[in-house]
């Protein structure tokens, strides 16, 4: 059996290779102990509120823009699935209206 930290390194190698405009870019990771063991994952900073907050504030979207956003979501997930990874927790709270800072 592999040590958990090795499993993480393995998985990060896979995640690292996902490059898609609709998937938040992975920057790298580190393992620290302070005082509990923490996995630190570096990602691009995406400015804006999460999609659930966005919906809470603006209410239901017209189907055209909802479809547009959902297409982006599905395309991003396509890139993730292509690497053999399942998200398993996909929800509005995990999505951000697309606004990249850099």
């Amino acid at each position: 059996m592999l040590h958990p930290s090795h499993l993480i390194q393995l998985r990060c190698l896979v995640v690292q290779s996902i490059k898609h405009p609709n998937v938040v870019n992975y920057k790298g990771h580190a393992l620290i102990e302070d005082p509990i063991k923490l996995l630190v994952i570096g990602m691009d900073l995406v400015v804006g509120q999460s999609y659930d907050k966005y919906l809470e504030r603006n209410g239901a979207l017209p189907w055209e823009s909802a479809a547009k956003d959902f297409t982006q979501l599905v395309e991003g997930m396509g890139a993730v699935h292509a690497k053999g990874i399942l998200h398993r927790d996909l929800k509005p709270g995990c999505s951000l209206p697309f606004q990249r800072l850099f």
Binding site: P4, S5, A30, D34, L38, L39, V40, G42, M43, G93
Partner: protein, 134 residues
């Protein structure tokens, strides 16, 4: 009506009075010693509360020190983040805004526990994926 003074009874009464006087004296002594004790205890309480305040202030300082910026090295670059810069909290852990020490980059950092402790869904997912026997 004639008052009979029984000398025997008289002496018993005076003896009783004497005894009561002595008892009162001992009670007084006891009372004064107790009040002394109370005073010293009160003084102790004051010292204890001063100590308590000191200990609390030290704990407070320690806590504040724990909140000073933390840093991590990712791909040869050092990123620092502060507890106040929390962007959000998910099932896996919290996300913080972090700055590169050289000032070239601002990124998001997700912190997740990876030992077999609770809240380590990230870890559970890993085990489920890579090691079905586990």
């Amino acid at each position: 009506m004639k008052m009979d003074i029984d000398p025997a009874k008289e002496s018993t009464f005076s003896a009783e009075a004497e005894r009561l006087k002595k008892e009162i004296a001992t009670f007084r002594e006891e009372l004064s010693s107790v009040s002394d004790k109370v005073e010293s205890l009160q003084k102790k309480m004051v010292t204890m509360s001063t100590m308590e305040r000191k200990i609390l202030s030290v704990m407070d300082r320690k806590k504040k020190e724990g909140e000073k910026p933390r840093s991590v090295e990712i791909r040869g670059k050092t990123f620092t983040w502060h507890q106040d810069d929390k962007l959000g909290e998910g099932a896996m852990g919290s996300v913080f805004k972090a700055k590169a020490k050289d000032g070239t980059e601002v990124i998001a950092l997700k912190l997740a526990e990876y030992t077999g402790s609770r809240n380590s869904r990230e870890h559970e997912n890993l085990m489920a994926r890579t090691c079905p026997q586990c």
